[in-house]
């Protein structure tokens, strides 16, 4: 940490950047403008909170640009137990979120190409390729990513992240903390839970060394509480989709989930979701749905197709179809009950071994069955994601069983969450059209 870097940080982030972003947000809030491209004929106006979402994400990446040399920086996997790092004052970067942002901004082909030119196969996860390509080329749509002082990989979402972070550890020559979470096929074994807890305890000295300070357990408890509060609010937001019309579509959720993924444990995140919930409740009271003429309601399974969010939202919206529930966004809310400030490390262990992606195909099927009933769904889109095998394996059978049990159409759509080269435009369009027809049968 150097004085020059700290001065740069305060000047660019605290004194100029954040006030500017806040001003920009206030402008957007006081003079709301709807883009000419917005399909107001089929979709309700964008949520007012969108300006605040933009501000939060921009602030996060702005901080990242100037974090190196001022704050310790950690790169972590999206399902990693970040509370310890938050309590140690790390700036935390989520390469997967950065990958998603690159997907939305159409930067994946170039970045992934840089990784492929270095020998990385197109058969590995497109988030990983995008991230490695960004590291190798130095390019990113957010200006600059701070190099990590520490890497934290948690296997609770896939094994891919460990392979990916081993590459990063070799590239950056920084310590890699591994939190290995044994897969829960049916019942969570006590020795698995204990294993995760011991790893968490043992990770603390390495994290403290990288941070240059000792962990304050009181602060850790506060952060766990903030994580829990934000997660509970997010779950409430998702559950507002029970309403007819649903005030929030899954495509909105994909955008507004960024803070719960990359800013867990922060007060600003709790405030943000409280404000979003308030806005949704106002919309519900006024009968405003995300899709103007909601006739049919769907479930989305698996990650989004980041580079086609708008297409799906608009195409389905045109037919009065709102995607109101998603196993993916739900994954960030359903863990709230496990969080507990009394025994934070034990609670963190239980929370982070339990995500949907660390549980069997039967658990995911049960989640979808529950959602079909609770959200009164008319159909399901299962995105068979080439880049995410843990999420995708089992979908074929899950689809068959859901069709059989509920007598509703379910579409298995093969694509990739980030790489548009694995997306067959015409094929998707024709299959989607046929699916929409089936919904009306």
């Amino acid at each position: 940490m150097t004085i020059i870097n700290s001065l740069k940080y305060y000047w660019n982030v605290k004194l100029t950047g954040q006030p500017f972003l806040a001003w920009q947000r206030r402008q957007a809030e006081s003079h709301p403008k709807i883009s000419a491209r917005w399909r107001s004929d089929i979709l309700s106006p964008p949520l007012k909170i969108a300006a605040r979402t933009r501000e939060l994400i921009s602030r996060h990446y702005l901080e990242g640009r100037y974090a190196a040399g001022h704050r310790p920086v950690a790169w972590v996997t999206s399902g990693a137990p970040v509370e310890i790092l938050q309590a140690l004052g790390f700036y935390i970067l989520y390469p997967e979120n950065h990958g998603a942002l690159c997907g939305v901004r159409g930067a994946v082909v170039e970045l992934s190409g840089a990784a492929e030119n270095a020998g990385y196969s197109t058969d590995i996860c497109s988030y990983a390729r995008t991230d490695i390509g960004s590291v190798l080329s130095g390019k990113t749509p957010v200006g600059r990513l701070p190099p990590p002082d520490l890497l934290l990989a948690c296997t609770n979402i896939c094994q891919t992240v460990l392979h990916w972070y081993r590459v990063l550890a070799r590239h950056f020559q920084v310590p890699l903390i591994l939190i290995d979470t044994p897969f829960v096929y049916s019942k969570l074994a006590e020795h698995s839970l204990e294993y995760v807890k011991i790893q968490l305890e043992n990770s603390i000295p390495a994290a403290e060394r990288a941070a240059g300070r000792k962990l304050d357990y009181r602060r850790l408890k506060e952060i766990v509480q903030l994580s829990k509060d934000a997660t509970e609010l997010w779950q409430e937001i998702i559950n507002r989709g029970h309403q007819r019309p649903a005030p929030l579509s899954v495509f909105d959720q994909f955008i507004h989930m960024a803070p719960i993924v990359e800013m867990r444990g922060q007060k600003a995140t709790v405030d943000f979701y409280a404000a979003l919930l308030k806005e949704l409740d106002e919309n519900i009271a006024n009968g405003i749905g995300a899709v103007r003429n909601e006739r049919k309601r769907l479930l989305w399974d698996n990650l989004p197709i980041w580079y086609r969010l708008r297409y799906f939202a608009e195409y389905l919206g045109e037919h009065g179809i709102c995607v109101v529930a998603s196993t993916y966004t739900n994954a960030w809310g359903e863990l709230a009950p496990f969080m507990n400030t009394q025994k934070p490390l034990a609670a963190i262990a239980r929370t982070y071994i339990s995500p949907i992606l660390n549980q069997g195909t039967g658990y995911k099927l049960a989640t979808m069955q529950r959602m079909v009933t609770e959200f009164q769904l008319d159909g399901i889109i299962l995105h068979s994601d080439r880049s995410c095998k843990p999420y995708s394996i089992g979908q074929i059978e899950q689809r068959n069983r859901l069709i059989q049990e509920f007598d509703i159409p379910a579409l298995l759509l093969e694509a990739d969450h980030d790489d548009p080269r694995a997306y067959a435009e015409a094929q998707v369009a024709s299959r989607l059209a046929a699916f929409v027809e089936m919904l009306d049968d």
């Binding site: 020998g119 590995i124 044994p182 096929y185 698995s192 294993y195 011991i198 069997g360 039967g362």
Partner: protein, 360 residues
């Protein structure tokens, strides 16, 4: 001298006729001795050839590797009904998915036992694995009604440790065994289904031979497994000699004995300390060092990375491995294969060109 290796089918029938139980075991690492202590004989399933792949394809996406696709097809064909149980180590996301699919959806007639392998070499990993093995022991005890004592477990461990040691010696004496590439790997891979006693006898008879050093350009192979095995003959025809390997199914399973006198801990120590393997989360640097040392010891001139399509654990390491080997003067070739298809002519041409380059 050709070695007479019993056929897999005959071995299984023999086990069954003697009242033994059979465990179908999927890749890669597992405690053979623990199974044997229960009089359960492991028979490994590495994506068997000649299966109706459409059976697996009806429940698995096309981007899942052929080893997993074939295993599911094989199970759905009923080919594993002879097995009293199916053991699936947690090797990768695809095998995890297959295990889950079998437990929750397919429900084959034989019970499915998952085994989680920790992704590190830390003390907590050894402790966890020892507990995981105890949990497997409890499951097997419930299935068989037996409870092997520590002494029985240690006796089974000693038998397998002897086989590990003999496998290591086969590699050490590789060039004077008088075995061509294919025969050498047939012998090594017979351990995938032979009981330890039979494998030990075969290995000892092979080791008793001292032949003139085999000719050929010394090569290392790396990857998951040498399938289709005709690649080994092909390399020999092109004057290449496979002197050692870093195959997940072969060289990465040269386990050293554990140190503890306590059986579960001893098994765990041995598995955790095995040669570096991406599926167990070992660092890329460890793999580089392992390959470089292996090449130095065997005078190998190059490495062929012979990979199964869609195998993420292997694919992630490749660029760094190849670059690091190149820095140390070891050239490499990357080949991707679909184990369901015969070797394409293009692959033969590339291997030929690679060997030619090594010889000049």
């Amino acid at each position: 001298m050709p070695i007479n290796i019993p056929q897999r089918k005959a071995v299984i029938q023999d086990i069954k006729s003697r009242g033994g139980m059979v465990a179908a075991v999927l890749p890669i690492h597992y405690p053979r001795a623990l199974l044997r202590a229960f009089n359960i004989f492991p028979v490994e399933v590495w994506g068997p050839p000649r299966v109706d792949v459409s059976l697996g394809g009806s429940q698995l996406q096309s981007y899942v590797c052929a080893i997993v696709q074939n295993a599911l097809s094989f199970i759905k064909m009923g080919a594993l009904e002879i097995a009293d149980l199916i053991l699936i180590p947690h090797t990768c996301d695809s095998l995890q998915g297959l295990t889950s699919l079998l437990i929750d959806m397919v429900k084959p007639p034989s019970p499915v036992f998952p085994l989680y392998l920790p992704r590190g070499r830390r003390e907590e990993d050894v402790i966890f694995l020892a507990e995981e093995l105890q949990s497997l022991y409890a499951g097997l005890a419930e299935l068989t009604g037996r409870r092997p004592t520590d002494a029985e477990l240690l006796a089974a461990i000693a038998r397998e440790e002897l086989c590990d040691q003999l496998s290591g010696r086969l590699y050490e004496q590789r060039q004077t065994l008088g075995l061509g590439n294919l025969d050498f790997y047939r012998l090594l891979r017979s351990r995938e289904y032979l009981p330890a006693e039979e494998f030990a006898a075969l290995a000892e008879s092979a080791l008793a031979v001292e032949a003139a050093p085999l000719p050929g350009t010394p090569l290392l192979l790396s990857g998951i497994l040498p399938e289709p095995m005709m690649v080994l003959d092909l390399i020999e025809e092109m004057k290449g000699l496979v002197v050692a390997d870093d195959f997940a199914g072969c060289g990465r399973r040269l386990y050293r004995p554990g140190l503890s006198p306590e059986p579960f801990r001893r098994l765990a120590e041995s598995l955790v300390a095995a040669p570096p393997d991406p599926t167990r989360g070992n660092a890329i640097g460890d793999r580089v060092q392992f390959l470089v040392e292996m090449a130095a010891k065997t005078y190998a001139r190059g490495v062929i990375f012979y990979e199964v399509k869609f195998c993420e654990p292997e694919l992630f390491d490749l660029p760094e491995l190849r670059a690091a080997l190149k820095e140390r003067g070891l050239v490499s070739l990357h080949i991707e294969v679909d184990i369901n298809n015969p070797l394409p002519q293009q692959t033969a041409t590339r291997i030929g060109a690679f060997l030619e380059m090594l010889n000049h």
